[in-house]
């Protein structure tokens, strides 16, 4: 197996992680600063980046579409729209209800976009059309959000705008255990359906012919992907591009498609992408660059390059 590549991945993660922990504004070793601010950030990058990447991989296998991803198919946007709606609507509710409601809304938003996509998938919509539907869902959600924003009071607006920029720094250290627990709950069970994912690699009918309970597996894929995307969206805001490009980079890197290898590699690359994007922000601390801007600069060319290399790819 590719133990060397795995090792390389770990080294990169350590290096960038170290840079983020200790590199900011000189080699400051103030323990409190590191524990309170930087350690949560690094952990969030690792888990959120890795989890988004896995969600993207699940979607690519499920939709049999190498261009599927949480953002491109509108799942992140759906989640954002529901969260935005709740942020504006939950004014005056107790903080507990408002918090819980937000988690639920984030999940429902992701899930409802999945349901729309599955409906079209079952009407035999082509892969390219499905992506266009995803992009339209995104722009629908963006319009909805801008309507909500224009109707809202100043305070919610400020909260919302902060959140919608997307950042791995939003998770505070008291919130961290909850975030980590949710991530583990959303990631670890995926290991148990790696075999089914492999069987889905060829097509749904082949999976069926190998004894896979396709209906049950489909529900599992979609709920876990929705769960993963909604956790990230909830805690970090909408984060683009990692979900779609990490699986590609992992495939290129490993030259394999078997999920037993690809899934851990994808997680690792997602984590690295998040760390790298975050460290760019650290290197340019004076400006207010958003992590999504950095990811867009990396992500868009990677996708274009992929499409260029797959010219004969058919709809």
């Amino acid at each position: 197996m590719n133990a060397k590549n795995l090792l390389l991945g770990f080294i990169v993660i350590f290096f960038v992680g170290f840079l983020l922990l200790y590199g900011e504004s000189g080699l400051s070793l103030n323990a409190a600063l590191i524990n309170e601010l930087r350690l949560p950030k690094v952990i969030v990058c690792l888990l959120a980046g890795g989890m988004l990447a896995i969600a993207g991989l699940l979607m690519q296998v499920f939709f049999q579409n190498p261009l599927a991803g949480p953002d491109i198919l509108g799942v992140s946007s759906g989640s954002s729209l529901f969260v935005a709606f709740w942020m504006m609507a939950s004014v005056g509710f107790s903080p507990a209800i408002s918090d819980w409601g937000m988690s639920v809304m984030s999940f429902l938003g992701a899930l409802s976009v999945f349901l729309i996509l599955i409906f079209f998938l079952h009407k035999n919509m082509s892969r390219v059309s499905l992506i266009i539907v995803g992009l339209l869902i995104s722009s629908f959600a963006a319009s909805g959000i801008s309507m909500l924003v224009s109707l809202s009071e100043t305070l919610q607006l400020k909260n919302y705008l902060m959140w919608s920029m997307g950042s791995f720094r939003n998770v505070t250290s008291p919130e961290l255990p909850r975030f980590v627990l949710l991530c583990l709950l959303a990631i670890l069970p995926v290991l148990f359906f790696i075999k089914a994912l492999n069987q889905f690699l060829l097509s749904e009918n082949y999976a069926l012919s190998m004894g896979v309970n396709v209906k049950k597996t489909r529900i599992l894929f979609v709920s876990f992907a929705a769960f993963q995307i909604s956790i990230v969206t909830l805690f970090c805001g909408p984060i683009g591009f990692i979900g779609i490009i990490a699986p590609h980079l992992a495939r290129q890197f490993l030259k394999r498609s078997q999920l037993n290898l690809l899934l851990p590699a994808t997680f690792m690359i997602g984590a690295i992408l998040a760390l790298v994007a975050e460290s760019v922000l650290v290197l340019a601390p004076s400006s207010s660059i958003s992590v999504n801007a950095v990811l867009g600069l990396i992500g868009a060319p990677v996708i274009v390059l992929y499409l260029y290399r797959q010219r004969e790819w058919s709809a």
Binding site: I194, K195, L201, S203, S209
Partner: protein, 239 residues
Amino acid sequence: MKLLKIEDLAIGFKEASFKNIKGEVFPGTITALMGINGVGKSCLLKTLGHLIPAQRGSLQLAGKDFSQYSALEFSKMVSLVLTEKFQVDFLRVDELVSLGRSPYTNWWGDLDSSDQQIVSQTMQQVGILDLKDKFFSELSDGQKQKVLIARALAQNPQLLILDEPTTYLDIPSKIELLKLLRKIADQNKVAIIMSTHDLELVKSHVDQVWLMGSDGQFETGSPESIESAGLFQKYFYFN
């Protein structure tokens, strides 16, 4: 003993589109399913492969009704080579063939030594051992077809169903493929059902023909008897 017994079967995706199908299949034989485009050959094969439900009628595999099999049990009896194209980058030939063992492996999909032996034996039998490190996406149509057959065989089926396996192949590859299928039928005692449009190959290489007529008639018989009854003439040549 009969492996597959079909009685009074009606097939279709939403409603019965072809009715009164009956037939029998024995181990070690090749059955060619023929009929013009759109008559429902793929639909019949998918019904026999338990991918879609029968509209009506009875289907028995090794003396048991289809409904008595669990999905996993069925997958150890029947395997498929379909026409649908799929695009997976970087899927190696040996990994693809190994997928055929997945009904037998544990939750992680680990191949034990006997699984590995079956995979390499199968690749050898089909003649793709030298391709095992290649990526599926790099292969020619003929090679891809063989790899898919190897995957299906690794599933260790008693019934192998192939949907138009010869369609995209040139003539020498078609003949080679039918010889391969004959070898598989003989050596593994597998029953093979394949749909095809290659009349000449059918006449020389198969044991039984099932003909789905454009008028809704379902005819069965040896290639010779179908020929002498003028049924090829009736359904495939137009004056």
